[in-house]
């Protein structure tokens, strides 16, 4: 059974969004996450810079 079928089984969860297999795997895909690491850091540095 797909994971989302398990998740949406509960009524409390049925009105939200749940990542599918691809989105979940991208969250721990080292190459993709390295790219995201650089992008998030740049974004955070901008916010930190605006705050000082």
């Amino acid at each position: 059974m797909k994971e989302e079928e398990l998740n949406f089984e509960k009524e409390q969860f049925s009105l939200t969004m749940i990542p599918g297999k691809f989105a979940r795997s991208m969250r721990t895909c080292v190459i993709w996450q390295f790219i995201r690491f650089v992008i998030i850091n740049v974004k955070m540095i901008i916010v930190v810079g605006k705050s000082h």
Binding site: N7, I40, S51
Partner: protein, 490 residues
């Protein structure tokens, strides 16, 4: 030579004292009064609470660091402030009580020219019957991750629960807030997902029921009235973002809840609709409400002026607009800019110790009149930035004179970068990396969401975990005043 006394050696106080000592050099004296011998990087207590880090990894001794910086260190807690001095002293002073072994209980008077109150929160466990032990400490019914010692205790309890599950006994985990007026939902959020992650790693997730209980009126409020952030090309409410994560990890939630009583294995609660209920648990981590640490203040004649210097919740009054007004009239400009006490201009408050003008989240009450709403968070980054701005102001006052320009750091004009861990692991860990700008929404500037959606974003992934882990080392490196420490931003 003038003397700056900093009360509290946490995120805000340590920042103020170390920068002030650097900028003032040996011309003036900087004194820190703080009750613990060790500095604690509190955000990593989450990992101590699940057995992924030790207490030693998240703390270090303050004395050698202060010796290196030329800061006078008293391991003591401040008890009272005499901002006008007394019959026998012309100078203002604080009365401190030592906590250091061998000197514990001894009191001393420390005179000051400038005072910064950065005493953070009192963990007010006793506000909820059964959450505290009746003597101001945590009770036996729940665990906490607010201090490194609490987190060590929590990790032992978690290990016991995991053993029971391995032995075939189902366990119910209840994590969240222990009162209707709590803040710091972010810490509980991190802890619940770290526990869920640990249970999966231990192969017992199917033996656990995990539930969130919180005073937020919607999931993802975080005491900031929620936030709208850019995710995957959309601008979405943090409600959707948070609900998605809870659903994905199969964690139930109970929100708008004031935890009214805690017993062994059971909490009683009241909801925003006025209904009451009970929730059983085998393991519970409930964040206590925060209050000021209970400092007293006296005038020259010895009359109690605590109500003049401090707000009723015990936090120090600063240059905020404390006029009571309805939610619709709240403004970004109500928030303080310089953190100077309005009565005594040589006193400042930084970090959690300053009294906010009002909530950030929408105020809510149950039909029974019970307030159920998060109080405003003052997380690490704003606490550090405020601590540095206050250090700047005090140094200028000391070196340029009383009319020096005060430095400003309004939470309505500053952003925050938050990385909420959802599980530890170099290749399997995840964290929600978020930025919010500004922390306090400004609906005059941004009428829809209150915040700049170009700078308010969030995403979950391994990259967030790497950032969180790097920040752990970076901030401890900085707090130890290692070479280049001033280059690392707050």
């Amino acid at each position: 030579m003038a003397r700056l006394v900093v009360l509290g050696g946490g995120v805000a106080g340590h920042t103020t004292a170390t920068f002030a000592a650097k900028w003032l050099g040996s011309q003036h004296e900087v004194v820190v009064v703080t009750p613990n011998s060790k500095w604690n990087w509190i955000p990593s207590n989450i990992w101590v609470g699940v057995g992924q880090m030790t207490k030693e990894e998240v703390t270090f001794d303050l004395a050698p660091v202060y010796a290196k910086a030329g800061i006078t260190f008293h391991q003591a807690k401040a008890v009272s402030i005499n901002p006008e001095g007394s019959d026998s002293s012309e100078k203002p002073f604080v009365t401190i009580e030592y906590t250091e072994e061998g000197k514990a209980g001894e009191t001393e008077v420390v005179e000051y020219d400038y005072l910064v109150n950065a005493t953070g929160p009192k963990l007010n466990f006793d506000a909820t019957p059964g959450l505290g032990d009746g003597n101001g400490q945590m009770g036996d019914n729940t665990v906490s991750v607010c201090t490194a010692d609490h987190a060590v205790h929590a990790s032992h309890k978690l290990a016991e629960a995991i053993e029971k599950m391995k032995g075939g006994t189902r366990q119910k985990f209840l994590i969240g807030t222990g009162h209707g007026m709590c803040t710091c939902q972010g810490a509980a959020f991190e802890y619940i997902f770290n526990i869920e992650n640990e249970l999966r790693k231990s192969g017992v997730r199917d033996m656990a029921d995990i539930k969130w209980i919180s005073n937020e009126s919607f999931l993802g409020d975080f005491g900031m009235g929620g936030l709208h952030m850019k995710v995957g090309g959309y601008v979405v409410s943090s409600k959707l973002f948070a609900e998605s994560l809870y659903a994905e990890r199969s964690i139930d939630w109970l929100i708008g809840a004031h935890t009214s009583k805690v017993e062994n294995g059971k909490v009683e609660y009241e909801l925003l609709d006025g209904s009451k209920g009970e929730e059983e648990f085998d393991f519970a981590m409930l964040i206590p409400p925060f209050a000021g640490v209970g400092l007293k203040a006296y005038d020259k004649a010895g009359e109690d002026i605590t109500g003049t210097v401090f707000a009723p919740n015990g936090f120090m009054k600063v240059d905020a607009d404390y006029t009571a007004k309805p939610y619709a009239e709240w403004k970004a400009s109500d928030w303080p800019r310089t953190y100077q006490n309005p009565t005594y201009s040589n006193m400042f408050a930084a970090g959690i110790a300053f009294a906010p003008p009002h909530l950030i989240s929408k105020p809510m009450k149950s039909p029974n009149g019970t307030p159920i709403n998060p109080t405003p968070p003052r997380t690490g980054m704003p606490s550090g930035i405020i601590g540095k701005a206050v250090a700047h102001s005090v140094c200028d006052l000391m070196t340029k004179g009383e009319n020096a320009h005060l430095h400003e750091a309004s939470m309505a004009e500053m952003g925050a970068a938050c990385v909420a861990s959802a599980g530890k692991g170099v290749f399997t860990g995840t964290a929600a990396a978020m930025t919010v700008y500004p922390v306090v929404p400004d609906f005059e500037k941004y009428p829809g969401t209150g915040r700049d959606t170009d700078y308010t974003f969030g995403e979950i992934g391994l990259a967030g975990h790497w950032i969180k882990h790097i920040l752990h080392f970076l901030f401890i490196y900085k707090a130890k005043l290692n070479p280049g420490w001033t280059l690392i931003p707050e």
